[in-house]
Every structure is written in structure tokens, then in C-alpha cells.
């Protein structure tokens, strides 16, 4: 169980906002963070990863205290055993596909690398450098690298945002497959209502740093989904006019 109770002043393009989150993420859950730009989704992921220090509060995973402002505990990212997948994938250009995945590994087991290469259909690309890969291939390598470290919590920052519709759909299935197989607690940032409904077991909707809704994505987005299905080309219009905002 991941318990989050934090407050943090963020500087966004619209000025200063206060991020206030108090929630619990069940084990094996795939929680989507949904909201407009500047709502605090990425900031929350970075705070959980230990890349940003929250101003106040605490973060506890199972019995491990990751952050406690009162007791002045703040574990470094290296000690939190998280897997963070960045928007730009952050694959190291000097390493091959296999090298990147091996870098994520904590032991020296070749078996794990082989399994991950097979799982993500990367066997034929193992010697390629990131610069030679397509967006979808990079995404698979990044996900494989993150999983090589066997994280307790998986943090995915808009992992599919840079991909076209077809590739997105394909990789949504990939993420779902991995989550069903490994059952790692996962928090994922997304802007796409369909993606949230398709992948998430629950969703948190953030607005200006505050949680305005939490629950089952189907229940929350029911009305919006109906509108989308009736008129799919009005997606951008609906995301603005959606009743949840």
C-alpha cells in the first residue's frame, strides 16, 4: 500500500499553485493521474520518485517511510525501488537496447534480460542504438529497462503521448499485459480519457493541484465516453467541456 499525504508549492506557467494530495494506492493497482497541464500530475510522480522534495507531508510504501517532513526523512531515488518512465524515455544513446535494459538490472542475471527482450519483442533489436529505433520501439525498451530493476512501484509519465493512435493502442495493450502479469503498483499520467478507461483500475482527477475526483474510471467518465462514442471527432472539445472539469 502506498500512502501519500503531501503539500507542495509548484511554479506553473499560470503562476504559483499548491499541490495537495492525500490518497492511498492499493497494491497491484494501476492508478491513472488525469488532468490539465499544470494540474500537478508530473510533479506528484517526481515527488514520489524522490526527484523533487515535497514541502510538507509524508509518503509511506508498505512499512518503508520514503518521505516525512516532520521526522526529516527523505530517501533518495536510489533507495525507493521505483521504476520511473520518462516522457522522452531517457534511453542512453551510448548503450545498445540490451545495454540500456542491462543497466536497469540490479543483479547480473542474463536470464532476466533475455526474458524482457522476449516479452517486449526486442530480440532482433538488441544490438541497435536508441537513435535507430522508432517511437514505439523506444517506448518498449524504456518499459523493459524500468522493469529490469524489479520496482515495487512503477511511475509512468505520459508514456504514450508521443505516439500515433495505432501505436498508442498497441502499447496500451502491452502495458496492460505487463501489469496483469507482474502486478506492480503503477501510477500513470495520461491526458487521454480512452486510455484511462482502457487501462486504469482507478483514476485521480487533479485540478490546480487538488484532487477533485477519485474512483473507477468508467463511473467517472461514463458521460464523457458516451459523448466520445457518439462523436469521436469532438474529443478535444469534450475534454474541455467535460462535466468533470
Amino acid at each position: 500500500m502506498l500512502k501519500i499525504d503531501i503539500q507542495h508549492a509548484m511554479l506553473t506557467s499560470e503562476g504559483k499553485k499548491n499541490l495537495e494530495i492525500c490518497t492511498e494506492v492499493d497494491p497491484k493497482e494501476l492508478l491513472c493521474l488525469f488532468g490539465h497541464s499544470g494540474a500537478g500530475k508530473t510533479t506528484l510522480l517526481r515527488i514520489l520518485a524522490g526527484l523533487i522534495r515535497a514541502d510538507k507531508g509524508c509518503i509511506v510504501f508498505d512499512n518503508d517511510i520514503w518521505f516525512d517532513s516532520v521526522r526529516k526523512i527523505n530517501l533518495s531515488p536510489q533507495r525507493r525501488n521505483i521504476g520511473f518512465m520518462f516522457q522522452d524515455y531517457a534511453l542512453f544513446p551510448n548503450m545498445s537496447v540490451e545495454g540500456n535494459i542491462r543497466f536497469g538490472q540490479k543483479g547480473e542475471k542474463t536470464e532476466t534480460i533475455e526474458n524482457l527482450l522476449a516479452l517486449f519483442d526486442l530480440m532482433s533489436l538488441r544490438k541497435q542504438k536508441p537513435g535507430q529505433l522508432s517511437g514505439g520501439q523506444k517506448q518498449r525498451v524504456a518499459l523493459a529497462r524500468v522493469l529490469a530493476s524489479k520496482p515495487s512501484v512503477l511511475l509512468l509519465d505520459e508514456p504514450l503521448s508521443a505516439l500515433d493512435y495505432e501505436m498508442r493502442h498497441l502499447l496500451q495493450q502491452e502495458i496492460q499485459k505487463v501489469h496483469e502479469r507482474l502486478k506492480t503498483t503503477t501510477l500513470m499520467v495520461s491526458h487521454d480519457i480512452r486510455e484511462v478507461v482502457h487501462l486504469a483500475t482507478s483514476v485521480i482527477i487533479l485540478k490546480n493541484g487538488a484532487v477533485i475526483s477519485k474512483g473507477n474510471p468508467r463511473a467517472i467518465f461514463n458521460e464523457t465516453i458516451q459523448l466520445l462514442n457518439e462523436s469521436p471527432f469532438q474529443e478535444s472539445f469534450i475534454s474541455v467541456k467535460s462535466p468533470v472539469f
Binding site: A49, G50, L51, S76, P77, Q78, R80, N81, I82, G83, F84, F86, Q87, D88, A90, F92, P93, N94, F103, G104, K106, G131, R145, V146, S149
Partner: protein, 223 residues
């Protein structure tokens, strides 16, 4: 004459080589701190490091000479405790050369570190890797052109250094007489042939170094 020529050329290479090695050791940690850490006096440190770019070499040479003098605290300390006189010695010139070449090593390294997307470092940390491992396995291999530029620029700059060397070291054959000083000296004594020999060596070395920098930077722009 021939022996003097090669002695001077070798001394020039020795000064440039040692300056580059010492600066590489000092420069990398300093560049890392300036690129990634929040330091209180960061801008002042950056300004001090960049001073040799705008300051006449004779100014730095003058202050170094004053500092080395046994009549001042630093010089007196060196003489009393280490029996060392730095003025008009190779070691004195080397220290001055290190200080004067600081920006040529640190700035390319700092720019190289800054040009690496910060998500690379963060990805490495979240994969459980320490700053040390991240530095050697992620940062250094992805900034090779900047490292080569820093080394080549420092070496090339030292090869041609004149003002600081003449102020701190004078013109002592085999000790402080480097090629650029020899050129000046030979021209003063109207020996244009020897001056031409030194000039040609400096010209070729500088050209080779700059060609190396441009060819490496031209090739490696894809990250």
C-alpha cells in the same frame, strides 16, 4: 641551435601537457558542481573562472609574480616550509598556466554536462545507480566531443601562451623559455629563420588540434 630548438619545443609540449592533465583532474569536478549543484557563490565562481578570457595575460602574470615573491605571505610560506621559489621556475609557470587556462577546460566540460538531458541522470538515479556510476557510465560517454574539445582547447591555448609565461617565468632556456617566447626572442635578435621554425611548429600543431575539434564536433551531433 638544433638542440635549443627541440629543447624549447619539448618544454612547450611539457608545459601544455601538464597543464592539460592537471586541469582535467580539477576541471571535471568543478564543471560538475557548476553544472548541477546549487552553489551560493556560483556566479562569482563562474566569473572568476572566465576572467582569463577578458583579462590581459600580463595582469594575471603580474599578480602571480607578486604572490610568488618571498616578501609576500604566499611566497614566504612556500620558501619557509617547502624551500620553494616559484618565480622564474617551471613550476611557477605551470601554476600560472593552470590558472590562466581554467576557462578553456571548464567551460566546454560544463556546457557538455548541461547539454545532456537531465532525464538521463534522473533515469539512472531511479534505476538505483549512484552519482558516481551515473557520472562514469551515463554522463561521460555522452559528452565525449565536449571532453575532446576541452582537452584540445586547453592544450592549444597553452602551446601559444606568451604573456603569463614571460611575466612569471621570464626567458630561461630549458626552464621557462617556451616556443612563443623563443619566437619573440629570435625576432628581437633578427634571427627570422629560427623564429620561422618555431612559428611553423606552433602553426601546424594549432591547425591539427582545431581540425580535430571541428571534425569530432561535426560528426557527433546526434544524441
Amino acid at each position: 641551435m638544433e638542440q635549443d630548438f627541440w629543447e624549447t619545443v619539448l618544454l612547450t609540449g611539457k608545459l601544455a601537457g601538464w597543464t592539460t592533465v592537471i586541469l582535467f583532474m580539477i576541471g571535471f569536478p568543478v564543471a560538475y558542481l557548476l553544472a548541477y549543484k546549487q552553489l551560493f557563490f556560483k556566479h562569482l565562481v563562474e566569473a572568476l573562472i572566465s576572467m582569463p578570457l577578458v583579462l590581459p595575460p600580463t595582469v594575471l602574470g603580474f599578480y602571480m609574480l607578486i604572490a610568488y615573491s618571498p616578501q609576500n605571505a604566499f611566497g614566504r610560506f612556500l620558501e619557509q616550509y617547502f624551500d620553494l621559489r616559484l618565480a622564474f621556475s617551471f613550476e611557477g609557470v605551470l601554476i600560472a598556466s593552470v590558472i590562466f587556462s581554467l576557462p578553456f577546460m571548464i567551460q566546454p566540460l560544463q556546457n557538455g554536462l548541461k547539454s545532456i538531458p537531465c532525464s538521463f541522470r534522473e533515469a539512472s538515479y531511479t534505476l538505483g545507480k549512484s552519482e558516481f556510476v551515473t557520472f562514469f557510465r551515463v554522463l561521460v560517454p555522452n559528452m565525449v566531443p565536449s571532453i575532446i574539445t576541452a582537452i584540445a582547447m586547453t592544450f592549444a591555448h597553452c602551446i601559444g601562451e606568451f604573456g603569463v609565461v614571460i611575466m612569471v617565468g621570464g626567458n630561461m632556456p630549458g626552464e621557462t623559455r617556451v616556443a612563443s617566447i623563443a619566437i619573440y626572442d629570435e625576432v628581437q635578435s633578427l634571427d627570422y629563420a629560427t623564429a620561422n621554425q618555431y612559428s611553423f611548429v606552433l602553426f601546424i600543431i594549432s591547425l591539427l588540434i582545431l581540425t580535430l575539434i571541428y571534425s569530432i564536433n561535426g560528426k557527433k551531433t546526434i544524441i
